[in-house]
Amino acid sequence: MKALIETIVTPLVDFPDEIVVTEKEEEHKITYHLTVNQTDVGKVIGKNGRIAKAIRTIVYAAGSDSKKRIYLDIM
């Protein structure tokens, strides 16, 4: 899942080396936390969060067969 998030985000940003995805597993959910270079924040969030929403949609779809709820935090 971490690899998926990195794959999605890499071509969108100017500093792909600074993409960091961390994973936090709890009882009923797994939270992924995504950070990028300060100047790239807009490129992963988008106008009215449109890009962020698209990224989440894909990540949640990929996690739909896992038993735990998946969350994606950006920044």
């Binding site: 998926l4 449109r50 990224i55 949609t57 894909i58 779809a61 739909s64």
Partner: protein, 204 residues
């Protein structure tokens, strides 16, 4: 194989070695010099090899196709991608077994992927392409559904003499509704609201 790191006695040698391995020519790659290397004393002591990173340039369409392949694979779905380019429109068609995951409820996953692909394709501002992502004929099926939905709701608007609001849809789906009802002179259609909540309203 799109990117390779190679070494050689000189930068030129390293580049040549990389080009051989990538099976391409110099005008189709970008070269990043990681280490210029050193001749060293008498060419023996303290000599360091030159290291270069050579990346094969891809046009935005190939890039987007590779991106799509990568993302779907990491989602755990094996797909075949058929790419067709017509004027300024790129159509990616997905064929595979677990395609339902990629479409999602009312095509939301497919639309999200389509939007990201659009961003990848149009990242450089020197060109503009429209991107359509389709999976197992989903767009065509959806179009038929929207046509019959439009007809049905137009009847309802006429019957009740009230405006009928549809659920929010992306622009290309709203367009289908407008087109479906443009020849129907008993109703008018317009879009209301701001994306992502913009929706079609049918007015008798």
């Amino acid at each position: 194989m799109r990117q390779i790191t190679a070494s050689g006695q000189t930068i030129e040698e390293a580049v040549q070695s990389a080009l051989r391995q990538l099976n391409t020519t110099k005008d189709q790659v970008t070269v990043d010099v990681i280490d210029e290397g050193k001749k060293g004393l008498f060419g023996v002591f303290g000599s360091k090899q030159a290291i270069v990173k050579v990346t094969k340039n891809m046009n935005p369409i190939q890039q987007a196709e590779a991106y799509l392949k990568n993302v779907t694979t990491k989602m755990g779905v094996e797909v075949e991608i058929k790419t067709t380019v017509h004027n300024q429109e790129i159509v990616f068609e997905l064929v595979g077994e677990k395609i339902a995951i990629l479409i999602g409820k009312r095509g939301q996953t497919l639309n999200a992927l389509q939007y990201l692909l659009h961003l990848v394709v149009n990242k450089k501002k020197d060109h503009f392409y429209t991107v359509v992502l389709d999976a197992e004929g989903y767009r065509k099926r959806r179009k038929e559904t929207l046509y019959s939905l439009a007809e049905r709701l137009a009847e309802k608007a006429i019957r009740t003499r009230r405006e009928v609001s549809l659920e929010p849809m992306p622009s290309f789906e709203r367009k289908i509704i407008h087109t479906a009802l443009q020849d129907n002179n008993r109703v008018e259609t317009y879009s209301d609201g701001i994306d992502p909540n913009r929706h079609v309203v049918i007015k008798p």
